[in-house]
C-alpha cells in the first residue's frame, strides 16, 4: 500500500513535469519561407480546424454553404468549424500549460480583447499577413483595422470584418429614438421594464460606448490603460446604470446572459430594445424573420464603438499553410462581397475600395443597400475606437461586483 504523503508527492511531481514539459512548436517548415504557390500546394488535402463563434445561424450558413465548399473545390482543403470564441485564450492557455506541442486548433476568430489575450500568452503565429496575396486589398490605412484595442496588429492577425455597435429598436413601439444617454434614461423611466443590456461582450461594449459619452474628451480613452481615467468614467457610467436600474427589465435585478438572449427578449416583445455589434445585423435578423419588419438600428449621437474582427493562426497549429490559404480566401473580394450582403451576413468589409480592381469596386457599390441601418459613411461620424483591453477586463469585473451582485 502506498503511503498518502508519498502518493501526494508523486502526484504533485507528475503535475510539475507535465507543466514543465517542452512547449515549442515542432511542426515542420515555416510557411513564411515558402512562395505562395508552394504554400497553396502544401495546403492541398489538409484539414483546418477553425474555432469561431457559432451563435448566429446566418454566419454559420455563410461558412457552411459558401466558404467550406469553395475551399474544398478550389484548394482541396477541408474546413472544420469548431464552436468557441471568448474561451479561445483559455483553451489555448490550457494546451500550452499541458505542454501540448501541436494544438487541436489551427485558426481562430479573434474578436474583442482576445487579440490582447492571445499575444499575452504568445499563442499566435506571425507575422503572416503580408504573405497573403489578398492582403494588398486590405484597408490597412484605416486605424480601426490596423490597431486592435489600441494594440498594433503587426501581421499577427488578418482582418475579416469591420463593424459598429448599434442600438436596435422597433419603430412601431418606439416612435422617437432616444439618441443620447440622457434621452435613453428618460425613455427607460417612462417605459419601465422595457430596456436592458446583456452582461457579456455586447452589453459591456455598450457601457464602454457610454464611457465615451461621459468622457471630457474622446482622447481620454486613447493610448494605454489609465487607471484614473478608467475609475472616473466607470463611476460616471455606473451612476447612469444605477439611475435607470429600477426601471430596467426585471427591475434590473438580473441581466440577460448574452446578446442572443437579449435578441430573444426583443423578438418575443418582452423588451423594446436590443443591440448588436454588427451594424448590418438588423437587416439580416429581419430577413430571417426573427425581428419585426419595423425594426431599426441607430447609433447614439455621443458615439458607439467600432471595431474589427480578425482571423488568427495558432502558433502550435500543424496546418499553417492551409490556414493561410483559408485566411487569404476569407479576405478575397469574392468572399468579402458575399459576406457583405445583408441577407447573407451583413458584415462590413475590411477591403479598401480604391485598391480593388474596377469590376469588383462596382460590385461592392452595387450590393443592395441595407434598409434598416444607416449607411456606413453616415455611421463613421459616430464611430469610436476600442480603448485598451484592460478597460474591458476591469469593466467586466466591476460590473459583476458593483452592479450585478448588488
Amino acid at each position: 500500500m502506498i503511503e498518502m504523503p508519498r502518493l501526494l508527492s508523486a502526484a504533485a511531481l507528475t503535475v510539475l513535469l507535465l507543466a514543465c514539459s517542452p512547449s515549442s512548436d515542432d511542426s515542420t517548415v515555416d510557411p513564411r519561407s515558402l512562395d505562395w504557390p508552394e504554400i497553396v500546394k502544401a495546403a492541398r488535402g489538409e484539414t483546418v480546424y477553425f474555432v469561431m463563434w457559432t451563435g448566429d445561424p446566418a454566419i454559420n450558413r455563410y461558412m457552411r454553404e459558401f466558404v467550406v465548399p469553395h475551399l474544398h473545390k478550389r484548394h482541396g482543403i477541408t474546413l472544420e468549424i469548431v464552436p468557441g470564441q471568448a474561451d479561445i485564450p483559455s483553451m489555448l492557455m490550457t494546451e500550452i500549460e499541458a505542454g501540448q506541442t501541436v494544438s487541436s486548433m489551427d485558426m481562430v476568430w479573434i474578436n474583442g480583447q482576445v487579440f490582447y489575450q492571445l499575444r499575452q500568452i504568445d499563442a499566435l503565429y506571425g507575422p503572416f499577413t503580408s504573405k497573403l496575396p489578398n492582403d494588398l486589398f486590405v484597408d490597412w490605412d484605416n486605424p480601426m483595422i490596423a490597431i486592435d484595442f489600441q494594440q498594433r496588429v503587426n501581421g499577427y492577425e488578418s482582418p475579416w470584418g469591420n463593424v459598429q455597435l448599434l442600438l436596435i429598436t422597433d419603430t412601431e413601439r418606439v416612435a422617437h429614438l432616444p439618441r443620447t444617454p440622457r434621452a435613453l434614461a428618460e425613455w427607460i423611466h417612462a417605459h419601465p421594464g422595457r430596456f436592458t443590456i446583456d452582461s457579456e461582450f455586447t452589453g459591456l461594449s455598450f457601457l464602454k460606448s457610454l464611457m465615451y459619452a461621459f468622457a471630457d474628451s474622446p482622447q481620454e480613452l486613447q493610448g494605454s490603460f489609465d487607471r484614473n481615467v478608467y475609475n472616473k468614467l466607470k463611476n460616471r457610467v455606473f451612476e447612469w446604470v444605477r439611475g435607470v436600474r429600477a426601471d430596467l427589465w426585471r427591475e434590473g435585478r438580473t441581466f440577460p446572459k448574452d446578446v442572443s438572449q437579449l435578441h430573444q427578449l426583443f423578438a418575443n416583445g418582452e423588451v423594446d430594445f436590443t443591440m448588436s455589434f454588427n451594424d448590418g445585423e438588423v437587416d439580416n435578423k429581419v430577413a430571417v424573420g426573427l425581428f419585426p419588419k419595423t425594426a431599426r438600428a441607430y447609433a447614439l449621437k455621443t458615439g458607439t464603438l467600432q471595431n474589427t474582427h480578425y482571423l488568427g493562426i495558432v502558433a502550435r497549429s500543424a496546418h499553417k499553410p492551409a490556414a493561410m490559404v483559408v485566411a487569404n480566401f476569407l479576405i478575397s473580394p469574392e468572399a468579402q462581397l458575399e459576406k457583405l450582403k445583408p441577407e447573407v451576413w451583413g458584415d462590413g468589409t475590411v477591403l479598401a475600395m480604391e485598391r480593388l480592381p474596377a469590376p469588383w469596386r462596382s460590385r461592392f457599390r452595387n450590393v443592395p443597400g441595407r434598409s434598416r441601418a444607416p449607411e456606413r459613411d453616415a455611421l463613421q461620424l459616430f464611430a469610436r475606437p476600442e480603448p485598451a483591453p484592460q478597460y474591458m477586463i476591469r469593466l467586466d469585473e466591476d460590473f459583476r461586483n458593483e452592479i450585478v451582485r448588488q
Binding site: 502518493l7 501526494l8 502526484a11 504533485a12 507528475t14 503535475v15 510539475l16 507543466a19 471568448a86 474561451d87 485564450p89 483559455s90 492557455m93 500550452i96 500549460e97 480583447q113 489575450q117 499575452q120 500568452i121 421594464g193 452582461s199 427589465w249 426585471r250 435585478r253 438580473t254 441581466f255 440577460p256 446572459k257 427578449l265 418575443n268 416583445g269 418582452e270 483591453p389 474591458m392 477586463i393 467586466d396 469585473e397 459583476r400 450585478v404 451582485r405
Partner: protein, 271 residues
C-alpha cells in the same frame, strides 16, 4: 485506487496552480489568489446558494416521491403510469434546462396560457421563474429530473424493508395512521435512503448546465462561479478559479468523510 489517484492529482494540480507554483502567467508563489477567493470573491454566497438550492430540491423530491409511493397503489406505480413518471430520467440536463426555458420563461408556455385565460396582460407580469435570483427555475428543473429516481428508490425500499407488513403490524399493535407513518414508515425509508440522498446532494451541489442556462447572473451556483472565473477575460484570474475549485473539493470531501462516519442509531429492541 485509480479514482482516488485522479482526485489527488487534480487536487494537487489545482492547489499548486492556485498558489502560483504552476500556470503560464504566474510569476511567483503567492497567497493573493486565496486571499481574494476567501475574502473578496463571491465564493461563499455561491456555496450558500448551491447548498440552499440542493436542500430545497432534495426536500421537495423526497416529499413528492414518498407521497407517490405511499399514496399511489403499487400496481399503478409499476404499470403504464411508471413510463410517464420515469421518462424525465432519460432527459439530459441541457435538454431539461431548455425545456424549462420553453415552459417557465416569460414568453413560455405557462406565461402564454396565463395570458390566454386573462390572468396577465403582458409577459412581463408573469412571475420570474427562470433567470431569477431565487433559483426557482433551477429548483423546478432539478426536481423534475431527480424525483423519478427517488420514486424508484423509495418504491424498492418499501418492498425490501417490508414496510407494508411492518405498518400493518403497527396498526395491529394499536398505532394510529399518523403514528405508524411517523414512527415506522418514514424512519425506515428515510434512514435507508440517506446515503443515496447524500450522493445526490453532492451531484446537485455541483450541477452545471441547468444553472448556467437558466440561472440568474447573480447569485450563481458554485460550478458556474468557478467556470466564470476560469473563462474570465482576465487570464491572470485563472488561479482564482483553481482556488475556488480546491476549496469546494476540500469542503465536499470533509462533509463526505463526516457523513461516512455517521451511522444511524440502531433501533431500540423491546425488552
Amino acid at each position: 485506487m485509480l479514482t482516488a489517484g485522479a482526485v489527488i492529482l487534480a487536487l494537487a494540480f489545482a492547489g499548486l496552480y492556485s498558489v502560483g507554483v504552476l500556470g503560464l502567467l504566474s510569476e511567483s508563489w503567492t497567497t493573493a489568489h486565496w486571499r481574494y477567493v476567501l475574502f473578496e470573491s463571491g465564493v461563499w454566497s455561491a456555496l450558500g446558494f448551491s447548498l440552499a438550492l440542493t436542500l430545497v430540491t432534495l426536500g421537495l423530491a423526497t416529499v413528492a416521491a414518498l407521497a407517490t409511493v405511499l399514496i399511489v397503489d403499487m400496481r399503478v406505480r409499476r404499470g403504464p403510469f411508471a413510463v410517464l413518471v420515469y421518462a424525465p430520467l432519460a432527459v439530459p440536463g441541457i435538454v431539461a434546462a431548455l425545456l424549462s426555458y420553453q415552459i417557465l420563461g416569460d414568453a413560455g408556455l405557462l406565461s402564454r396560457m396565463a395570458h390566454a385565460v386573462g390572468w396577465i396582460r403582458s409577459p412581463a407580469e408573469f412571475p420570474a421563474l427562470v433567470f431569477d435570483r431565487l433559483g426557482v427555475g433551477i429548483i423546478l428543473t432539478h426536481f423534475a429530473m431527480i424525483t423519478p429516481f427517488f420514486v424508484i428508490l423509495f418504491d424498492r425500499l418499501f418492498e425490501n424493508e417490508r414496510v407494508a407488513e411492518l405498518r400493518q403490524l403497527a396498526y395491529t399493535l394499536g398505532a394510529t395512521r399518523m403514528q405508524a407513518l411517523s414512527r415506522v414508515v418514514l424512519p425506515l425509508l428515510l434512514v435507508r435512503a440517506l446515503p443515496v440522498c447524500a450522493v445526490y446532494g453532492v451531484v446537485l451541489m455541483g450541477a452545471f448546465e441547468v444553472p448556467l442556462l437558466i440561472g440568474a447572473r447573480y447569485p450563481t451556483m458554485i460550478s458556474v462561479e468557478i467556470y466564470s472565473r476560469f473563462a474570465s477575460y482576465d487570464l491572470t484570474a485563472r488561479p482564482q478559479a483553481y482556488a475556488m475549485a480546491t476549496l469546494y473539493l476540500l469542503l465536499v470531501l470533509a462533509a463526505w468523510s463526516v457523513a461516512l462516519r455517521w451511522r444511524p442509531r440502531p433501533a431500540q429492541t423491546p425488552r
